[in-house]
Amino acid sequence: MKNNLLKKFLILPVFLLTVGMMYGQTVVKGVVSDSSGTLPGVSVVEKGSTNGTQTDFNGSYSITLKSSNATLVFSYLGYKTQEVAVDGKNTINVTLVEDSTQLDEIVVIGYGTTTVKDATGAVTSVSAAEFNKGVITSPEQLIQGKTAGVQITQTSGEPGAGVNIRIRGTNSVRANNNPLFVVDGIPLAEGSNTAGTDVPGVGANPSKNPLIFLNPNDIESISILKDASATAIYGSRGANGVVIITTKSGKAGKDSFEYTSQFSFSNPAKTFDLLTAQEYLSESARLGFNANDRDFGNITDWQDVIYRNSTSVTQNFAYNKGYKSGSLRASMGLSNQQGIVEKSQLKRFDLRLNWQQRLLKDKLKLTFQGTISDVDDQTPPLAGTAGFQGDLIGSAYAANPTWSSDPTFDNTGGLINPANLLANTQNTTDTNRLLFSLGADYQLTENISANVKFGYDKSNADTRGVSNSNIVAIGGGIQGNGRGTYNDFEFTNSLLEATMNYKKSTKNSTLDVLLGFSYQKFDRKGTNAQGWGFNTTDLDAMGNVLSSATNSVASQITGDYQQFAYATAFQGGNIGAGNVFVTRLQDGLPIDFVNLTTPSDLRALAVDTFDNYDELQSFFARVNYSLFDKYLLTATFRADGSTAFGAGNQYGYFPSGAFAWKLTEEDFIPDNVSTLKLRINAGLTGNQEGVGYGNAVRRTRFNGIGINEAGEVVVPGTGVVAFENQDLKWESTFQYGAGIDFGFNNDRLRGTFDYYNKSTRDLLFLIQSAQPAIQPFQFQNLPDSKIINRGIEFALGYDFVQGDEFTWDADFNIAYNYNNVESLSGEYISGAINGQGLSGAFAQNLAQGQPLFSWYVRDFRGFDAQGQPVYRNGGDPLFVGKSALPTITGGLSTSATYKNWSFNAYFTGQFGHYIYNATQNAFFTAGSFASGRNVLASTLTSGESLNAAADPSTRFLEKGDFVRLQTLSASYNVPMKESSWFDSVQLTLTGQNLLLFTGYSGLDPEVSSRTDGGLPTLGIDYGAFPNPRTFTFGINAKF
């Protein structure tokens, strides 16, 4: 009976349809496409009726009209809805235009997606069309300045250098304040996957940006989760915000190819006005030095020696295929970016495959997203920790301009000849990384779907730093011997994740429930080797000798070991018959002297290893409930367990909630208000970054080993690395806030306004142990201390012109953040200032009642009659009421199109902070000139005595305010004939870092040198790698 009834119902429309046709009603056919091809799944509806259909796989549709003067409405998520009057036509082909208004955009949130309209939290998504252009090495640069409250700062102008990202202020007193990065659903491991670079004799530099393995060209969108309601789904890793990177997937439609190529040219945007050789000598004579003795007879512009005009090339090729039950996109990228300092280079080769397959009548969806990359980079001999001699850049500022730029010139009085340093050092890192995720999504019932995901991220990094025996005037026993470091790191991050989704819609409400479990393991394994005494000066060969010596000796050792070494002589320990000692952590023979074959081309080798892992286990849930499409509720909860903490405190619990009210849906809101939504949210998120492995358990290892200046190795003892600390637990950030989204006239004018208040508690702080203690510092939670960040964010966009041939729009964002440390006992000096006469000097202090990164220096009041500096309060350092944290950050981007042309400009700015010009402190003082170093012309007219000390003071503290024209670009879409091979060809010319408006006297205020390894530092400019000015010509072709 039932079946019969059903059949009747089915027959009815068929009958009507047939009748309709019989009566000559119109059938309209056509193809719907977008700029890149046909679009399946586009909804085609006869306006004012329920009569509608969808485009098929080939973008074709066919609809039988009910009314002869109908209008068809074509709509598709992410595209502007288009209406076309039929007017008797039988074929209507439509090209949909992507909707540029951000509010309709899909936003990827944790474990799912939503639209901006339905988002309850402060979530911003930036899609590929809005990405920054030009030379982009890593994904964060794509979105720099695009989002209010997200401060993205390049720490130096070196290709692939680290990037500081601060979302809604700085929460942590540990090294890492960067957000969690999630790539295609895989949360990445904290920190870096490579060893920091080390130039023996000069110093160490932090690792490169770990995200450089991703090809920016493969990225579809980047979502930034800012408030706790959005990030709490990532629980313990959400406190600094979350950045979700989604790569491009295959699109339905025809097979297509895309080729992108860029050629760039960079030069230093600014250099210092140092004394020329002639000026150096005349100033020497004027100031009473023996100019003849200071004249080495050459004319050298040292900045010319180390800086260069550089070129970069990028090639990308992508293939897209869509077919009935799936799609795939495969791409390949090749780039070679040179830095403007000699010997700085980043080469990347990457392959990506994203593939989706639907099975079982689309109930089962399999997804594979994977990339393989090979990044080879080279770093010049730079170090933020460089002492009185400076590093390559510092020594180039200081070098006597009458020295010869011949690398063998060594009459330097203990200072570095930059040409010698450049020619005889080399630092390379070769990183291979594989990241993929494999997912299966099964629609179990109409309402329930389940998803299983396996993610795997493995990287192998081989870092080599060598200084050969031709080095002059550098300590460490390198001269005449050569010295090198070799680090082989292997990091693996594996993820297993299961989620279940329940979705139910009734007439007035929708309910969406997510339940999930995730397990993640971070394996870290590595070898740190040092070598001394090479019989070659070839820098490549030195690296090879060191790595093959390490591997050859290691392969001869039987059993587990932590370290091994051989040397010209050992200190301590009884050397047996053998010539290699091996330390072993198991019982029996903790130190073993074994007789192994040691390579003859390396006189001393010391190798230490590590191999450990951490685990994170999580249970999470989210409920989204929407009533009348007006009231939106989100609640999330996550429990995270981590091996980083004491047995009693391994689990942290992170709840959050948010409520949004879509006022636009209310009758009392006028029609010209296209968007109006109020949002409130509160939640708790956690942070454990920087705590490191095994800091809550009592753990013993052999102490570090090294090779001394004479090629000797001290046989190490064992030491307890960490105390047991059962109480160690999660640091947590409680955040609440409210926001409003608004738009008028179809969002022609649009904006958002947000307020937030964050308070970070149970600070995980590396505090002074109560002595006597096993380690001078230990991690502890400070229960009463807090770090407060509160602020407002405002974004506004307006489409000035919306014509057919000419459009012009602009988007502006600005954010204000207040930062303060509360209830902290003690004071913690930080912000090391390095350079001659600056050992142990510092310029920052962490204390309650002050923002983070507060400057703590002498208050400089000028020079006295003798040219000695005069300080307030007799010269004791004090808080000067200034911090390195900007209070205001902002961005302005504007774009215009005219026919086939489009233009973009993007300005970024930061205000309210102070930068410490450590470059000037270390190099540009009268005393520096007195010791034979070169200085700026202005240095010698300041009234400073040649014998004056240059202690850190407000003399070197400068306002860091700046506005930068970061990008200016023009693109031209080459008109294509129907018959053309190409679908589209676009030519682009981009300039980066074209204008910088700042009062800062150094090269660039937007740098941050890593000058020590303790508390994080910010805002210190110490011979930083300058930001280049870059011009890029690009071509993009689709066919």
Partner: protein
Amino acid sequence: MKNLFTRMRKLFLAMFAMVTVLSCTDLTIEGTDSLLQETPEFTGVEDVAGSLTSVYQATYGMLGDQANFFALNEVTTDETLVPTRGTDWSDNGIWRQLHNHTWKQDHGFILTTWNQLNGNAYRATEIIDPLSQASAQQAAEAKFLRAFNMYFVLDFWGVAPFRNATDPGSSIPTVLSSQEAYDFIVQDLNEAISDLPAVGPSAATSRASKSAARYLLAKVMLNSERYTGAAPNYGQIISLIDGITGEGYALAADYFNIFNPAVDTETIWYANESLGIGNRIWNGLHYNMTTPDNGGGGWNGFSTLAEFYDLFEGDANQNYMGSNQEERRGWVPDATTADNTSNWGIGYGFLQGQQYSGSGAALTDRSGNPLSFTKDLSLTNSNETNGIRIIKYHPNPMPPGVAGGSQSFRAHEIIFRYADAFLMKAEATLRNGGDATAMVNQLRALRGASALANVSLQDMIDERGRELYYEFWRRNDLLRFGQFTKDWEYKDPSAIGDANRRLFPIPLAALVSNPNLEQNPGY
């Protein structure tokens, strides 16, 4: 088809369940690259021998540094200073504050030294704890090392915090008063003396021996009045030193040769697992003074005061060979005595006047002026050549059989020397009402100095200065002789006579970490 669906669904659900159940973990880490202790309580040191080596190495590392421990003991005195030379060696005022006695509770060296000494003492405590099951000799070595480190805590700060190995990491250490700490150290040393091996002059004196412990106990007792208020037991001090003599230690001739690595009769305890000699050699030498293994040259920092230099016999204005100087003032190679095989132009002792390269060429400073070290200097405002430099350890030629070159960064720094024990005995004799003249003159004769008529306490401290400069004891000596608060050329007027300066302030960070600590008066 339906079957397939059902099967697939079952398979998927099974997979889903597997992921959730099988990957569940109890979140315990395994000791893949470290020895992990299973229980939270202290169960003893995992590797006693390795741990003991660590305490030696940490102690030696501390001694080798030019900053921190060395600086607190020497730069705070009239013997050496680190003048600010224009933009060199200003170092945020850290050296000036030590020498002119204006240090505060945030002084970096004071904090670091607090951490080093107490950290070393704690590691020793762990070894001594019965749970570690150390052998009697290992425990005795640890007691000796704990006494050494704890003694300097007492000497610098007047109190000593203490933590048992079995106390939880989160516990707050108790604070031993001056008297308690003194008694604790004396007990450790007495126990150490009985269980340590008797070791005569040999290469083996880099580890603790009966004589090293006797020496330290004599030193602690000689200074006891500052900690206990009671006069020392001079007889016991003398018998301790006689015990050292009885094991074969004796004064040795050829003063600067004592500081070479070869075995001599004076070295009671030396650091072999530290490379501190480099700091002792280079901290005062100019950048243009180099050796084959150190092309970067010296660091041009440390100098001595004219008034200290003038304690030595010899021509006050030059120190070349034949300046009528006593042996301990050393000599400076000139154009004829400089060579590139044994001295590289670098002198011994006190470097004054024009300096020469190994090939005998007169050196210049970085401004092109003659590199001639002068007596005159200024704490705040010196140039590159101001100040007489001290160099006690010399960059030796490589040992026989090793290819040519220098040993600028070798180990073998002397910590306890017999000449000090000898002078302690003389001092104890003098303070006990006896006459030390013969003993002091015995030493002076060996060093090529003229005999003194009658040795007073002032002669005694001056003699100790001449014999033991740069060997860590000047602050300790000045305090014992009541001269630490006296005036010297660059001392801040406010600090002259300030008795509070005899102790360092407890570092601010330590006060925060331990409420049982009280700041010393005056800070």
